[in-house]
């Protein structure tokens, strides 16, 4: 039987990089969405308070 050298470091590096980058992109996008929603809610709340005080 043909002997094949151990290539697992290359395989592990490929999977780690791909899954790691996917995880970073996914978590980064989720955190950004949460932050943007909170910011919009704060801005809307501020605008509502201003309108109420003006009226």
């Amino acid at each position: 039987m043909m002997h094949l050298p151990n290539h697992w470091p290359y395989i592990a590096a490929s999977y780690a990089l791909t899954l790691g980058c996917s995880l970073v992109l996914g978590v980064g996008a989720a955190l950004r969405l949460r932050k943007s929603k909170a910011r919009l809610a704060a801005v809307e709340g501020h605008a509502r308070r201003r309108e109420r005080s003006a009226s």
């Binding site: 050298p5 290539h7 290359y10 395989i11 990089l17 996914g26 943007s36 919009l40 801005v43």
Partner: protein, 253 residues
Amino acid sequence: MRPTPNLLHRYANPGQFLRLARTLLPWLTGGAIVFLVVGVIWGLFIAPADWQQGDTVRIMYVHVPMAWLASSCYLGLAICGVLSLVWRHPLADLAAIEIGPVGACAAALCLITGSLWGEPMWGTWWVWDARLTSMLVLFFLYLGHIALIRAFDEPARGQRAAAILALAGVIDLPIIKFSVQWWNTLHQPDSITLTGAPTMSMMMLWPLLICTIGFTLGVAAVIFTRLSAAIHESRARQMMARSRLDRRDSQAA
């Protein structure tokens, strides 16, 4: 302004898009996690080793989906370019800003995992092969698009220039696809085609398809999330600008 087709017009409304994203996101995210867990375990531990490549063939289960996604995301950029230039679709420019970095990431991962496969198999990290070079050109097109869309003080100018670049660069997609047929390349020919039977074992084809579906759903979820965040950020910016104007008006009065 030209009339917009019905379907495009429907989702030109950011509120409508946010409702669609809220419905789709849990399904896209859940589907991506399930498909990726099954695909990665199958690809790493269950699929057989290749008689020639040995276990290195397992790199294909992440390399091929990244190549597919890099090309698909660029096609998405080009479609956004058409929607922006022809119909001035309000979400197209925002979508182009959000798709660019995700596609660049897929192209970079495709090149890196390809190198990690090439070193043990070809004995080199890189060759100036037609397939590899055209994929490198795609990565540079992504970088150019990302830089150009943010390069101007007036965002509309950057978005217009980037849309033109996306449309011009789409010529690279058929070059990537057919490079292995048009030129004598070191890169192997396509194992899966639309017209012919796959040239690989079904035991390898299944995990490849499952990983491809998983990464595609994941990238769709990331793009929907980024685009939703961009819409929220844009609304917050508009409201802050309006309140600043109101404050200035009341001070002037």
